[in-house]
Subunit: 259 residues, 4 copies
């Protein structure tokens, strides 16, 4: 039976290829994760296990999709940077978004028990995704800086907010106390009222998480004469470092070299 | 700390809204499911439990996304029809694709054990997704017909192929026997060599699965005089019926009425 | 000499095909025509010759592009309706927009002297263009109604404004008098202060211009017996009629039948 | 009278903004110019006046649209390079394409008589247009090189073809003689059969035309002491130089500096 009579419906599929030779950033966001974190009793303002779960999912992404060369995550969002020269699925936006989000979602559910062995997953979590193209490395770095500044702003605010709430304030009172305060004032509030030095809090909360392939030199085995035989390989690492300045990029020049 | 210095990067997000007042079809496909079905020992040509799992995921989709008014699935793919008047996420393609695929993937993993209690999920499954707009109901019905004709063609071929293989032929021999055969010849092959009447095989294999909300009248309670108090409500049903002809649509006119 | 080394640059051309089986409306607008009409001393509020020139250009469009089945113009804008089934240049948006706008612009300059024999064209006029798809005939008719309502609102306002200015008011005074007035009040102002019955002004000003192919029956020649031999053909006509109600469409059912 | 009832039709206009911070190339092509050049008796293989007319239109484009920083033309096509940082009409593709093509077309018709004082324009010429974004300067230069290589290939072929035809061959004979010949062979054919040294033909034919703003230093006036007062300004120039190598770009570094 020929299917040709109906096949014309394929002509309604419009193309959505992304501009070649641009960095593709795919950002996923937890959908209604405010409610999700309440129902699953996530610790406030940061739940270490929830962050570790996200980081492990993101690490698996770099294994699964070799064209992802960098990932940056914080709170319930993750940005994946796909190399400029990638031709993954002919750079079709919907293919890329759907495959990445699908794999991330499946992995999140599969790994849940590893990080929450005593908590049942109550319902299927979902993530939305979007793709953006950045034509130059300098704009890409500004994108990453934008996310890390946001991480800082949100985390500092949330740390203050939850300390106030835990100390007995209502949510509204805490919001009013924080309204209009600057970075420095928030740091002082934490220090004077709660004895917390913000800059000594765990870097994973303050800086978010960067995942990338680090070039390392390994001893594979030794020759009969006892000399080590080494090889260079790339190993996926998770770090909680600054990505706004140039240090990370200077130390790992291959990351943004698109090779 | 103001984030404005970097916020310009948001201007690189281009809009991808879908044309209003058109039927949106979102089709998801299992990614590398040939390998996935081998590794998980799915029965050939059709694995009932795998199909039931997909159907349950799709049923949950209609609960989760009220704008989905119909779903049709077969093999490892599912098409979801979103109503013409939907303004779900302002009809942004990447939002819609990612959320639907994400929820489907999470659900698939969460429900795996219900359908395969004795099989471990070996790795995270993933699905790709795409959206297509259809401007009229008649073209939408042609789309659905296209998928059901495909279901028939594939299933009849696969049924023959696997019967031949199970009877001792090699894959290549089976392919050669089937090359160029028509519907009628395949039916005869099944009947004469294997005593199988194709049309009596389970409808779920031959027709695929349709999921929609059926209007039903229910007795809520009875009055003191014993008269039933009824109300109409919509109940999600799974059927394996013909969607090419007009019967289904005539019997359920509200399905495509976009209300 | 092979050109292949550089031909990869073609891969940066992204596709912009419009959804099949939808009405395509291409609207062009005079660019900075406020200034253009001043420099060329167009009569206010309406210059008959300028409108006739636009109408003749639009008429030539229907000759040149057979897929245009209707055009509606007013002031310095024109909307062209391309039939749903059109496959003109594979429905590529930029091809369609550029060709239509280019032909219109060339024609405008070429025909200028026919309508302004004693005025020199001072500089090249330009028009911008855009395409919009409408999935149903009823929405297409709402689009056309939208433009004709706009024509009425603008023309009534401009008629009042210029009568006030010609009677000695400054532009600001005229604007203040008209601020917040309704249709009925404007009609009364025209009648009481200037003795003008708005509804008797030329229809081309009040209703704009519709251009379409009318089916007519013509006597081609006569038989020897003196009986007329007729044939039906389509003849391009310009009318200034209502397009909001259903009369025009009922009388010319073939217009929106997409045949 | 409110227009709100119909204004919903505006929501069908989809956005088509081009990616920020990329070079926009807008290429226009004469539509059916083979026929146009025959009807207007253009000289073969190159008509100097027709090329001069196109060059003057393109020069006017650089005056009219300050964001165009370079133009390259040959045969009946012209490429306009819009600077990376341009926000002209919010980088909306259809606005940019339509305005540029419209102005070019109007100018072409208006200037026709300056270049063809004794030839009547027979019908309105039209041009199609398209936009492509290039993310880096190096790819932009490859685009320009692609066009100039094409200019060379086409012009050399056409020069041979028309010399053969003018010497008495039929079109088919000329095509057969040229089939499969390389650059060197074509040069030898021209030299041996017609005494033509290809490289001494006018550069406008062989290299096409480049239009850009050259920085020049001008003496504005002199001081009382007789010292010249100079100022730097940019002057639009037309050149027929090589754009594949780096000389032009090295000598005019501001061209691609996006300032």
């Amino acid at each position: 039976m020929a299917n040709s009579k109906y096949e014309y419906v394929k002509s309604f599929e419009l193309q959505d290829n992304l501009l070649p030779q641009t960095w593709i950033v795919l950002r996923i966001d937890g959908c209604h994760f405010h409610k999700f974190s309440q129902i699953h009793n996530f610790e406030k303002p940061n739940d270490e296990h929830a962050l570790q779960l996200l980081n492990e999912c993101a690490t698996d992404m770099l294994e699964e999709f070799p064209d992802i060369i960098f990932a940056y995550g914080m709170s319930d969002e993750y940005s994946f940077v796909i190399k400029k020269s990638s031709t993954f699925h002919q750079r079709r936006a919907s293919k890329i978004v759907s495959l990445v989000v699908s794999f991330f979602s499946s992995t999140y559910v599969m790994k849940w028990h590893k990080f929450f062995p005593h908590k049942e997953l109550q319902y299927p979590p979902s993530f939305d995704g979007r793709v953006v193209c950045y034509p130059s490395t300098s704009i890409l770095r500004d994108y990453l800086a934008w996310r890390q500044v946001d991480c800082h702003i949100n985390n500092q605010y949330n740390t203050c907010f939850w300390m106030l709430v835990k100390s007995g304030k209502s949510a509204t009172e805490a919001q009013n106390i924080l309204k209009g305060t600057q970075t420095q004032e928030k740091n002082e509030l934490l220090f004077q009222q709660f004895g917390i030095n913000y800059n000594t809090l765990p870097a994973v909360f303050r800086k978010g998480s960067c995942i990338f392939k680090e070039e390392v030199e390994e001893v594979v085995k030794c020759t009969e004469a006892g000399d080590p035989i080494k090889r260079r390989r790339r190993k996926i690492v998770v770090q909680h470092c600054d990505i706004i300045g140039k240090n990370l990029w200077d130390e790992h020049p291959y990351l943004l070299s698109d090779k």
